[in-house]
Amino acid sequence: MPVEVRLPTVLRPHSGGQTIVSAKGGTIGEVLTDLMRSYPGMAGQLLTDDGSLHRFVNVYVNDDDVRYLDQLDTKVAEGDTVSILPAVAGG
């Protein structure tokens, strides 16, 4: 199922400048894998060598951080929006 993926500025050089791209998958892990297949430049940036989410990367499904849902197994459905953002401090 295709979902819309919103990319942060730092990843756009790897997507030909596109802000929103489409990727397929039934879980976040599958969506990220499909994304990296389409845009190989993102490979080292999103996941670590052991396949877990890079610590400075936050991934959201419809505004909810997947780390507090089912991580990479979090389910996505057609029409969902996946956002990738760098971890940012405040204060």
Partner: protein, 315 residues
């Protein structure tokens, strides 16, 4: 408390106000803790005092010392207040895109401002402060993101106050900045009621910091990793500028004049209220609205204000 010896004695013991009329679920009460009632105007007065007193106890801070701190505003303002009263000199590394009132408040309490790049957000301010500290090791960097006296202020102050005023609390919602409030209050509440949930709200700041060169320039506060933040939080949700402004206005409708991050936290609480069948949500309103009047948040067209908020750091 009619007469106090020092303005610093007014830090903490903030009021909790029932704003359940704003709850989208009749079975869910929403209470806001008004941190704008602190003398420096925000929740950050608590950690400013706690970090300074801890450093004094450890002998790191001696009379006349110079403090250096990266801050998007409120921690800097809290430290400026504490430094003024206790006789320290303060330099704040402040991103250029904060509201003009934050800058003015810092200057009013005698802090010196060192500007960091706005498009690198707070991450850029942290990096610059660490760099400056390496060059000037005598300046004392309390470092709110790494200092355990930050969550401690909430574990010993904010958390017990909430428990004292509302032991029925089922959900705690607050903004994620340094993560100090969530870590300290969250741990305290869960120790007293293991079923209490902790929800974090953050702005989509990663969208605005287009100055970062790679995702490796992202930043997770050391206290969050040290104190098991990922295990403590039950949910983390993003609230965009439009919803933040909208909920800041809804708070004003019931007489609560709070800052834009309070609007974001309320939006998170409303989402929480819709997701549960019944409960009592306590939400932190980190500051009052005074420092955001220049953004036109209450008076201007919502599209214009949303666009302005997109370019301003309000967490």
């Amino acid at each position: 408390m009619a007469l106090v010896g020092s303005v610093l004695d007014l830090i903490g013991n903030t009021p909790l106000v029932d704003v359940s009329q704003l709850s989208p679920n009749r079975e869910v009460r929403i209470l806001v803790k008004l941190e704008g009632h602190n003398p420096g105007g925000s929740v950050k007065d608590r950690i400013a005092l706690s970090m300074v007193e801890e450093a004094e106890k450890e002998g790191v801070l001696t009379p006349g010392a110079t403090l250096l701190e990266p801050s998007s505003g409120n921690t800097g303002i809290g430290l400026a207040l504490v430094s003024r009263v206790k006789g320290y000199h303060l330099r704040v590394v402040l991103p250029s895109n904060v509201s003009v009132e934050r800058r003015q408040a810092l200057e009013s309490w005698g802090a010196e401002i060192i500007e960091s790049s706005g498009n690198e957000g707070s991450n850029g301010a942290v990096r610059m402060a660490e760099h400056l500290h390496a060059e000037h090791p005598k300046w004392v960097l309390l470092h709110q993101y790494a200092n355990h006296a930050n969550p401690k202020a909430h574990y010993e102050g904010t958390g017990p106050e909430i428990w004292r005023d509302c032991p029925e609390v089922t959900h705690f919602v607050a903004g994620l900045g340094t993560s100090g409030t969530l870590l300290g209050v969250g741990r305290f509440l869960k120790e007293h009621n293991s079923r209490a949930e902790v929800w974090a709200v953050e702005p989509p700041a990663g969208e605005m910091v287009d100055g970062l060169r790679s995702l490796d320039e992202g930043y997770v506060p050391p206290i969050f990793s040290d104190l098991g933040g990922a295990e403590l939080l039950d949910r983390k949700t993003i609230v965009g500028p439009r919803a933040s402004v909208k909920w800041t206005r809804r708070l004003a409708e019931v007489g609560i004049f709070a800052g834009l991050s309070s609007g974001a936290a309320m939006a998170g609480a409303a989402k929480c209220a819709q997701a549960i069948s019944s409960g009592v949500i306590v939400v932190v309103c980190a500051d009052g609205g005074w420092k955001y009047l220049s953004t036109g948040a209450w008076t201007d067209d919502i599209d214009v204000v949303t666009e302005r908020a997109r370019r301003t750091i309000y967490f």
